[in-house]
């Protein structure tokens, strides 16, 4: 693998996204702060802002680093550098997954801290929050894979829309599963088999999305 050039491509993408990423992180922190306010309205506002900032951050990253590269016709410039299509794919995957996961992890940890330390929020919410927050990562990985494979704004927007609708429906469904839903009002955290199965399935789907992107990229005959 051509690591020096992969780093150059990642550095370029970091340069163009760094301010926006800091902004999304700060927005995420504000939402976590709202979660900790002992007020139902503030809690819901915080949850909505947290989820929205993660979804929008993911879409922003994918749009600027992958779709815009094709749309703004900077891809020929990038590919004129000494990189192969596979180097390009590795670089795009790493910068997107890396940037998203770092901020997601910081916000997830902050969220768990709030859940565990604010009296009015039941500790049992941790399991639901784990599955829900991990689902945002999975949705991000699927959209990223589609964007890398198709380089199409249209297809990516379609998948983004479907995934956003699915996220709400999925969470609604989660709350109806007693092994998960019953914990949302409990002080006990129960990492039962249902919760662990959901988490494992999400990780498998996420890895499958990454592998699918690499598989289709390796089969591409034309890169420009």
């Amino acid at each position: 693998m051509n690591w020096p050039m992969i780093k150059h491509v990642m550095a370029k993408d970091w340069y163009f996204n760094r301010l926006a990423l800091v902004g999304y992180f700060l927005l995420g922190l504000i939402s976590v702060a709202l979660l900790s306010v002992k007020n139902t309205g503030a809690f819901y506002a915080g949850a909505v802002i947290l989820i929205s900032s993660l979804i929008v951050m993911g879409w922003h990253l994918i749009f600027v680093t992958v779709i815009k590269e094709r749309k703004s016709q900077t891809l020929p410039f990038l590919m004129s550098l000494p990189i192969s299509p596979m180097d390009y794919t590795v670089a795009k995957m790493l910068i997107n997954v890396g940037a998203f996961l770092v901020i997601w992890l910081l916000l997830a940890v902050s969220t768990f801290w709030v859940i565990l330390n604010v009296d009015t929020i039941p500790n049992g919410l941790v399991t639901f929050a784990s599955i829900a927050l991990l689902e945002l990562v999975i949705a991000f990985l699927i959209i990223l894979a589609i964007a890398i494979i198709t380089e199409s704004e249209t297809y990516s927007v379609i998948v983004l829309t479907i995934s956003n609708i699915s996220v709400s429906l999925f969470w609604f469904w989660l709350t109806s599963i007693s092994a998960i839903g019953s914990q949302m009002s409990s002080q006990e955290i129960d990492w039962n088999s249902t919760v662990l199965t959901f988490l494992a399935a999400e990780i498998v789907i996420g890895l499958a999305a990454i592998c699918t992107a690499f598989y289709f990229q390796s089969k591409k005959q034309d890169f420009l």
Partner: protein
């Protein structure tokens, strides 16, 4: 250069029997050799296959048949090694709108040890660009020149330029062409320059290759084209029959007047017509554009005849 063209090291580009098929277009049996230190003009109409050929040379489009070697590296497998010494610019290439010219120069400098800071500064002045200006604030001509600056200051051994002067005003085109001519002062450097603007190619190239509908229909050095191609205007007696000489591309007769286009003009051609009773009114030189158009029409006529027979 003393090296034989059979020596791989003597060729910057070596394409042998290269084919690539799409649903509505096919690049067929392309053979293209570019000796080091030469500029080849690659002329074709829109959709002829110039860009596809260039992208195959960059390793960004996989050919289905044949062999492609660039600077001694088989493509696309060794594209990373090859690209260190290839400067590629295409009409549809853009720099990053939100970044300045200076940012792009710093970026290229961080990648390429061969980046020449002084030369880059010289080009900024020569091309009348402000280094601190963002790309989105530049005019089209300035953007094209900024893109060329990014590859020229790297000093690559091979430049692949796919319609680089399209959309430039005459002054900008002149600046770019002059700079490309300077590149060739280093005899190891080579340029493949595609365009449908024959004036630019005529000004710049040593060798000319014509491509049409995915096939190479002619490849010679520029001087040969300009020396051998002629339009002959004749006055011919009513019943005289003009012999079918080799190299005749087109023959038009209107009464006693005849216009012959040949790609193999010499004294023998003139003498043969005179022996048939024809009087030569004029032997006209042809521009590269006229040669290109005639070659394309002849190729298309041949294809049509082959298809019907």
């Amino acid at each position: 250069m003393n090296m034989s063209l059979d020596t791989p090291n003597a060729l910057a580009i070596d394409m042998r029997n290269v084919s690539k098929r799409y649903q509505h277009f096919a690049l067929q049996d392309i053979n293209l050799q570019l000796p080091k230190g030469t500029i080849m003009g690659f002329i074709g109409a829109n959709g002829a296959g110039k860009s596809t050929t260039m992208r195959i040379l960059m390793g960004l489009v996989r050919h289905e048949q044949g062999e492609v070697t660039v600077n001694g590296c088989p493509m696309p497998n060794q594209q990373v090694a090859a690209k260190w010494d290839i400067g590629f610019a295409s009409e549809d290439m853009r720099l990053y709108q939100e970044a300045s010219v200076q940012w792009h120069m710093n970026y290229m400098q961080s990648i390429f040890p061969s980046w020449d800071i002084q030369y880059a500064k010289k080009l900024v002045q020569k091309f009348d660009i402000r280094a601190e200006q963002k790309i989105k604030g530049l005019s089209h001509g300035q953007r094209v020149k900024a893109g060329l600056l990014m590859i020229l200051a790297r000093k690559p051994k091979l430049l692949l330029l796919d319609e680089p002067t399209t959309g430039l005003d005459p002054v900008a085109r002149h600046e770019v062409l002059n700079e490309l001519m300077d590149v060739l002062l280093d005899e190891d450097r080579s340029i493949l320059f595609s365009s449908h603007n024959t004036h630019d190619i005529e000004q710049l190239s040593d060798q000319i290759t014509f491509i049409d509908k995915g096939k190479i229909i002619g490849c010679e050095d520029k001087e040969s084209y300009l020396e051998k191609w002629r339009r002959i205007r004749l006055t011919v007696p009513e019943n005289a029959v003009l012999p079918p000489l080799q190299g005749i591309i087109e023959q038009r007769r209107m009464g006693k007047q005849a216009v012959i286009t040949t790609k193999r003009f010499d004294d023998h051609v003139a003498n043969t017509y005179q022996k048939c009773g024809a009087q030569i009114q004029a032997v006209e030189n042809m521009t590269l554009e006229e040669i290109f158009v005639s070659e394309v029409q002849a190729s298309r006529n041949n294809n049509a005849q082959e298809a019907t027979s």
